[in-house]
Symmetry: C2
Subunit: 138 residues, 2 copies
DNA sequence: AGAGATCATGCAACAGAAGTGCATTTAATG
DNA sequence: CATTAAATGCACTTCTGTTGCATGATCTCT
Protein backbone atom coordinates (compact mmCIF):
# COMPACT_ATOMS: atom_id res chain seq x y z
CA UNK A 1 0.00 0.00 0.00
CA UNK A 2 1.58 3.24 -1.16
CA UNK A 3 1.50 6.60 0.59
CA UNK A 4 -1.29 7.88 -1.64
CA UNK A 5 -3.35 4.77 -1.09
CA UNK A 6 -2.95 5.18 2.64
CA UNK A 7 -4.00 8.82 2.45
CA UNK A 8 -7.17 7.98 0.56
CA UNK A 9 -7.90 5.06 2.81
CA UNK A 10 -7.54 7.23 5.90
CA UNK A 11 -10.25 9.47 4.51
CA UNK A 12 -12.53 6.52 3.77
CA UNK A 13 -12.10 6.80 0.03
CA UNK A 14 -11.50 3.60 -1.87
CA UNK A 15 -8.16 3.97 -3.61
CA UNK A 16 -9.06 3.07 -7.16
CA UNK A 17 -6.64 3.44 -10.05
CA UNK A 18 -8.27 6.59 -11.35
CA UNK A 19 -8.46 8.21 -7.94
CA UNK A 20 -4.80 7.57 -7.31
CA UNK A 21 -3.91 9.12 -10.65
CA UNK A 22 -6.01 12.18 -9.96
CA UNK A 23 -4.56 12.57 -6.51
CA UNK A 24 -1.03 12.29 -7.80
CA UNK A 25 -1.75 14.78 -10.57
CA UNK A 26 -3.05 17.33 -8.11
CA UNK A 27 -0.16 16.69 -5.76
CA UNK A 28 2.29 17.31 -8.59
CA UNK A 29 0.94 20.78 -9.25
CA UNK A 30 1.36 23.74 -6.96
CA UNK A 31 -1.68 25.47 -8.38
CA UNK A 32 -5.39 24.83 -8.12
CA UNK A 33 -6.84 22.82 -10.98
CA UNK A 34 -10.12 22.93 -12.82
CA UNK A 35 -12.04 19.87 -13.91
CA UNK A 36 -10.98 20.58 -17.47
CA UNK A 37 -7.32 20.70 -16.46
CA UNK A 38 -7.52 17.14 -15.22
CA UNK A 39 -9.51 16.11 -18.25
CA UNK A 40 -6.79 17.43 -20.54
CA UNK A 41 -4.06 15.80 -18.49
CA UNK A 42 -5.43 12.32 -19.08
CA UNK A 43 -6.49 11.59 -22.61
CA UNK A 44 -8.48 8.60 -21.55
CA UNK A 45 -10.37 10.20 -18.71
CA UNK A 46 -14.11 10.41 -18.47
CA UNK A 47 -15.35 13.82 -17.48
CA UNK A 48 -18.07 12.43 -15.26
CA UNK A 49 -15.69 10.23 -13.35
CA UNK A 50 -13.39 13.15 -12.71
CA UNK A 51 -16.34 15.27 -11.67
CA UNK A 52 -17.58 12.71 -9.20
CA UNK A 53 -14.10 11.98 -7.95
CA UNK A 54 -13.61 15.64 -7.10
CA UNK A 55 -17.00 15.66 -5.38
CA UNK A 56 -16.02 12.66 -3.31
CA UNK A 57 -12.63 14.11 -2.51
CA UNK A 58 -14.28 17.31 -1.37
CA UNK A 59 -16.84 15.57 0.81
CA UNK A 60 -14.13 13.53 2.46
CA UNK A 61 -11.89 16.54 3.05
CA UNK A 62 -9.18 15.58 0.60
CA UNK A 63 -9.57 18.66 -1.57
CA UNK A 64 -11.28 21.99 -1.19
CA UNK A 65 -13.11 23.93 -3.84
CA UNK A 66 -11.94 27.41 -4.74
CA UNK A 67 -13.92 30.27 -6.22
CA UNK A 68 -11.28 32.48 -7.76
CA UNK A 69 -13.64 34.83 -9.54
CA UNK A 70 -13.31 33.24 -12.96
CA UNK A 71 -16.65 31.48 -12.58
CA UNK A 72 -14.81 28.21 -13.06
CA UNK A 73 -14.49 26.01 -10.01
CA UNK A 74 -10.96 25.11 -9.04
CA UNK A 75 -9.76 22.47 -6.62
CA UNK A 76 -6.66 22.02 -4.55
CA UNK A 77 -5.43 19.35 -2.17
CA UNK A 78 -5.95 20.16 1.46
CA UNK A 79 -2.74 20.63 3.34
CA UNK A 80 -2.13 18.48 6.39
CA UNK A 81 -3.92 20.23 9.21
CA UNK A 82 -6.47 21.83 6.93
CA UNK A 83 -9.79 20.70 8.32
CA UNK A 84 -12.17 22.17 5.80
CA UNK A 85 -15.10 20.03 6.85
CA UNK A 86 -15.11 20.97 10.50
CA UNK A 87 -14.43 24.67 10.87
CA UNK A 88 -13.45 26.20 7.57
CA UNK A 89 -9.78 26.69 7.02
CA UNK A 90 -10.09 30.27 5.93
CA UNK A 91 -6.89 30.83 4.03
CA UNK A 92 -6.92 33.14 1.08
CA UNK A 93 -6.21 32.54 -2.58
CA UNK A 94 -4.31 34.39 -5.24
CA UNK A 95 -5.37 34.50 -8.84
CA UNK A 96 -2.93 35.68 -11.48
CA UNK A 97 -4.61 37.70 -14.19
CA UNK A 98 -1.66 37.05 -16.48
CA UNK A 99 -1.21 33.27 -16.46
CA UNK A 100 -4.69 32.62 -15.05
CA UNK A 101 -3.32 30.33 -12.36
CA UNK A 102 -4.72 30.18 -8.86
CA UNK A 103 -2.72 29.26 -5.78
CA UNK A 104 -3.51 28.64 -2.14
CA UNK A 105 -1.85 30.98 0.33
CA UNK A 106 -2.33 28.61 3.20
CA UNK A 107 -0.33 30.72 5.62
CA UNK A 108 -2.50 33.78 5.07
CA UNK A 109 -5.81 33.57 6.86
CA UNK A 110 -8.81 35.74 6.14
CA UNK A 111 -9.02 38.45 8.80
CA UNK A 112 -12.12 38.58 10.92
CA UNK A 113 -14.75 41.02 9.67
CA UNK A 114 -17.25 42.79 11.87
CA UNK A 115 -20.60 42.61 10.17
CA UNK A 116 -23.87 44.26 11.14
CA UNK A 117 -25.49 42.03 13.74
CA UNK A 118 -28.30 41.03 11.41
CA UNK A 119 -25.95 38.96 9.32
CA UNK A 120 -24.83 35.50 10.38
CA UNK A 121 -21.45 34.73 8.85
CA UNK A 122 -20.69 31.08 8.26
CA UNK A 123 -18.00 31.12 5.65
CA UNK A 124 -15.77 33.53 3.79
CA UNK A 125 -13.85 33.68 0.57
CA UNK A 126 -11.06 36.12 -0.13
CA UNK A 127 -9.28 36.19 -3.45
CA UNK A 128 -6.47 38.57 -4.32
CA UNK A 129 -6.02 39.19 -8.01
CA UNK A 130 -2.84 40.42 -9.57
CA UNK A 131 0.45 39.18 -10.95
CA UNK A 132 1.99 36.02 -9.53
CA UNK A 133 5.64 35.39 -8.76
CA UNK A 134 6.30 33.53 -12.01
CA UNK A 135 4.79 36.29 -14.11
CA UNK A 136 6.28 39.28 -12.29
CA UNK A 137 9.96 38.46 -12.71
CA UNK A 138 10.75 38.27 -16.40
CA UNK B 1 -34.62 64.46 -19.43
CA UNK B 2 -35.24 62.35 -16.34
CA UNK B 3 -32.81 61.62 -13.53
CA UNK B 4 -31.95 58.22 -14.93
CA UNK B 5 -31.37 59.61 -18.39
CA UNK B 6 -29.05 62.22 -16.94
CA UNK B 7 -27.15 59.57 -15.01
CA UNK B 8 -26.57 57.48 -18.12
CA UNK B 9 -25.70 60.51 -20.17
CA UNK B 10 -23.12 61.61 -17.60
CA UNK B 11 -21.41 58.28 -18.05
CA UNK B 12 -21.46 58.58 -21.86
CA UNK B 13 -24.09 55.89 -22.26
CA UNK B 14 -26.91 56.61 -24.66
CA UNK B 15 -30.12 56.43 -22.67
CA UNK B 16 -32.18 54.06 -24.76
CA UNK B 17 -35.52 52.70 -23.64
CA UNK B 18 -34.13 49.31 -22.73
CA UNK B 19 -31.17 50.74 -20.85
CA UNK B 20 -33.42 52.98 -18.81
CA UNK B 21 -35.62 50.02 -17.93
CA UNK B 22 -32.64 47.94 -16.89
CA UNK B 23 -31.21 50.75 -14.83
CA UNK B 24 -34.51 51.33 -13.06
CA UNK B 25 -34.91 47.63 -12.41
CA UNK B 26 -31.50 47.40 -10.80
CA UNK B 27 -32.12 50.56 -8.82
CA UNK B 28 -35.38 49.12 -7.50
CA UNK B 29 -33.63 46.11 -6.01
CA UNK B 30 -31.33 46.16 -3.02
CA UNK B 31 -29.60 42.97 -4.07
CA UNK B 32 -27.22 42.15 -6.87
CA UNK B 33 -28.84 40.72 -9.98
CA UNK B 34 -27.83 38.08 -12.47
CA UNK B 35 -28.39 38.35 -16.18
CA UNK B 36 -31.15 35.79 -15.85
CA UNK B 37 -32.88 37.83 -13.18
CA UNK B 38 -33.25 40.72 -15.57
CA UNK B 39 -34.30 38.39 -18.34
CA UNK B 40 -37.09 37.01 -16.20
CA UNK B 41 -38.19 40.46 -15.11
CA UNK B 42 -38.94 41.55 -18.65
CA UNK B 43 -40.84 39.06 -20.74
CA UNK B 44 -39.91 40.78 -23.93
CA UNK B 45 -36.20 41.15 -23.29
CA UNK B 46 -33.50 39.78 -25.49
CA UNK B 47 -30.75 38.03 -23.57
CA UNK B 48 -28.01 39.36 -25.81
CA UNK B 49 -29.16 42.94 -25.40
CA UNK B 50 -29.17 42.56 -21.64
CA UNK B 51 -25.77 40.93 -21.76
CA UNK B 52 -24.27 43.72 -23.80
CA UNK B 53 -26.02 46.38 -21.78
CA UNK B 54 -24.45 45.06 -18.61
CA UNK B 55 -21.08 44.98 -20.34
CA UNK B 56 -21.49 48.59 -21.38
CA UNK B 57 -22.69 49.61 -17.93
CA UNK B 58 -19.67 47.95 -16.40
CA UNK B 59 -17.17 49.54 -18.77
CA UNK B 60 -18.65 52.95 -18.10
CA UNK B 61 -18.65 52.51 -14.33
CA UNK B 62 -22.40 52.33 -13.88
CA UNK B 63 -22.43 48.85 -12.42
CA UNK B 64 -19.82 46.52 -11.01
CA UNK B 65 -19.61 42.80 -11.43
CA UNK B 66 -19.70 40.56 -8.39
CA UNK B 67 -18.32 37.06 -7.97
CA UNK B 68 -20.25 35.65 -5.05
CA UNK B 69 -19.01 32.10 -5.34
CA UNK B 70 -22.08 30.74 -7.09
CA UNK B 71 -20.29 30.73 -10.42
CA UNK B 72 -22.98 33.04 -11.74
CA UNK B 73 -21.98 36.64 -12.36
CA UNK B 74 -24.01 39.19 -10.49
CA UNK B 75 -24.19 42.92 -11.04
CA UNK B 76 -25.07 45.86 -8.84
CA UNK B 77 -25.30 49.59 -9.42
CA UNK B 78 -22.31 51.54 -8.25
CA UNK B 79 -23.07 53.85 -5.40
CA UNK B 80 -22.27 57.54 -5.84
CA UNK B 81 -18.60 57.88 -5.03
CA UNK B 82 -17.79 54.32 -6.03
CA UNK B 83 -15.13 54.71 -8.67
CA UNK B 84 -14.62 51.14 -9.70
CA UNK B 85 -12.79 51.98 -12.90
CA UNK B 86 -10.08 54.07 -11.36
CA UNK B 87 -8.95 52.47 -8.12
CA UNK B 88 -11.20 49.58 -7.19
CA UNK B 89 -13.80 50.30 -4.60
CA UNK B 90 -12.98 47.33 -2.44
CA UNK B 91 -16.15 46.85 -0.47
CA UNK B 92 -17.17 43.36 0.46
CA UNK B 93 -20.23 41.33 -0.44
CA UNK B 94 -22.53 39.05 1.45
CA UNK B 95 -24.14 35.98 -0.04
CA UNK B 96 -27.04 34.33 1.74
CA UNK B 97 -26.95 30.57 1.44
CA UNK B 98 -30.63 30.42 2.33
CA UNK B 99 -32.31 32.82 -0.12
CA UNK B 100 -29.32 32.89 -2.49
CA UNK B 101 -29.32 36.68 -2.60
CA UNK B 102 -26.17 38.75 -2.75
CA UNK B 103 -25.83 42.25 -1.37
CA UNK B 104 -23.17 44.93 -1.42
CA UNK B 105 -21.83 45.98 1.95
CA UNK B 106 -20.51 49.26 0.63
CA UNK B 107 -19.53 50.54 4.06
CA UNK B 108 -17.32 47.54 4.77
CA UNK B 109 -14.03 47.71 2.94
CA UNK B 110 -11.68 44.80 2.41
CA UNK B 111 -8.82 45.08 4.90
CA UNK B 112 -5.33 45.38 3.51
CA UNK B 113 -3.47 42.08 3.24
CA UNK B 114 0.28 41.72 3.45
CA UNK B 115 1.36 39.35 0.74
CA UNK B 116 4.79 37.87 0.04
CA UNK B 117 6.70 40.46 -1.98
CA UNK B 118 6.68 38.30 -5.08
CA UNK B 119 2.98 38.87 -5.58
CA UNK B 120 1.65 42.08 -7.07
CA UNK B 121 -1.88 42.67 -5.81
CA UNK B 122 -4.15 44.63 -8.09
CA UNK B 123 -7.62 43.72 -6.97
CA UNK B 124 -9.39 41.79 -4.26
CA UNK B 125 -12.69 40.08 -3.74
CA UNK B 126 -14.10 39.20 -0.35
CA UNK B 127 -17.40 37.41 -0.01
CA UNK B 128 -18.95 36.45 3.30
CA UNK B 129 -21.43 33.61 3.14
CA UNK B 130 -24.10 32.95 5.69
CA UNK B 131 -27.64 33.96 6.57
CA UNK B 132 -28.89 37.40 5.63
CA UNK B 133 -31.06 39.71 7.71
CA UNK B 134 -34.29 38.69 5.98
CA UNK B 135 -33.64 35.00 6.50
CA UNK B 136 -32.31 35.15 10.06
CA UNK B 137 -35.37 36.72 11.73
CA UNK B 138 -38.30 34.38 11.22
C1' DA C 1 -14.91 -19.93 -3.76
C1' DG C 2 -19.52 -18.20 -4.92
C1' DA C 3 -23.77 -15.18 -4.37
C1' DG C 4 -25.45 -10.92 -3.39
C1' DA C 5 -24.82 -6.22 -2.24
C1' DT C 6 -22.38 -2.04 -2.77
C1' DC C 7 -19.60 1.13 -4.99
C1' DA C 8 -17.13 3.07 -9.17
C1' DT C 9 -17.08 3.98 -13.92
C1' DG C 10 -18.61 4.85 -18.74
C1' DC C 11 -21.87 6.66 -21.89
C1' DA C 12 -25.45 9.62 -23.19
C1' DA C 13 -27.95 13.40 -22.65
C1' DC C 14 -29.41 17.88 -20.67
C1' DA C 15 -29.39 22.61 -18.49
C1' DG C 16 -27.61 26.93 -17.90
C1' DA C 17 -24.36 30.63 -18.60
C1' DA C 18 -21.51 33.04 -21.54
C1' DG C 19 -20.16 34.67 -25.79
C1' DT C 20 -19.95 35.71 -31.18
C1' DG C 21 -21.46 36.95 -36.02
C1' DC C 22 -24.43 39.11 -38.81
C1' DA C 23 -28.58 41.34 -40.42
C1' DT C 24 -31.79 44.86 -39.17
C1' DT C 25 -33.56 48.58 -36.77
C1' DT C 26 -32.96 52.87 -34.36
C1' DA C 27 -30.83 57.10 -33.35
C1' DA C 28 -27.36 61.01 -34.14
C1' DT C 29 -25.31 64.30 -37.33
C1' DG C 30 -24.78 67.35 -40.95
C1' DC D 1 -33.41 63.99 -46.07
C1' DA D 2 -29.07 61.24 -46.62
C1' DT D 3 -25.22 59.33 -44.40
C1' DT D 4 -23.15 57.21 -40.67
C1' DA D 5 -22.74 55.08 -36.25
C1' DA D 6 -24.71 52.72 -32.50
C1' DA D 7 -28.14 49.50 -30.48
C1' DT D 8 -30.92 45.59 -30.88
C1' DG D 9 -32.72 40.97 -32.38
C1' DC D 10 -31.90 36.34 -33.93
C1' DA D 11 -29.39 32.29 -34.55
C1' DC D 12 -25.96 29.63 -33.20
C1' DT D 13 -21.81 27.91 -30.61
C1' DT D 14 -18.93 26.76 -26.72
C1' DC D 15 -18.04 25.50 -22.15
C1' DT D 16 -19.11 24.08 -17.45
C1' DG D 17 -21.67 21.60 -14.57
C1' DT D 18 -24.97 17.93 -13.68
C1' DT D 19 -28.00 13.73 -13.75
C1' DG D 20 -29.84 8.92 -15.15
C1' DC D 21 -28.96 4.59 -16.18
C1' DA D 22 -26.45 0.50 -17.56
C1' DT D 23 -22.28 -1.92 -16.87
C1' DG D 24 -18.06 -3.23 -14.54
C1' DA D 25 -15.38 -3.79 -10.39
C1' DT D 26 -14.92 -4.61 -5.56
C1' DC D 27 -16.32 -5.91 -0.97
C1' DT D 28 -18.78 -9.01 2.43
C1' DC D 29 -20.59 -12.84 4.26
C1' DT D 30 -21.63 -17.57 4.21
MN1 LIG E 1 -6.83 26.78 -0.89
MN1 LIG F 1 -20.82 45.67 -4.59
ZN1 LIG G 1 0.96 34.30 -13.31
ZN1 LIG H 1 -31.30 35.27 2.81
Amino acid sequence: MTEVEKTLDNKSVRPTAMRILIYKFMASKNTAVALTDIENAFEKAERTTLYRTLKTFEEKGIVHQIDDGTNISKFALCQPGCNCEIDQDLHLHFHCSHCDKTVCLTEHKIPHINLPAVYIAEDANLVIKGICDSCSDH
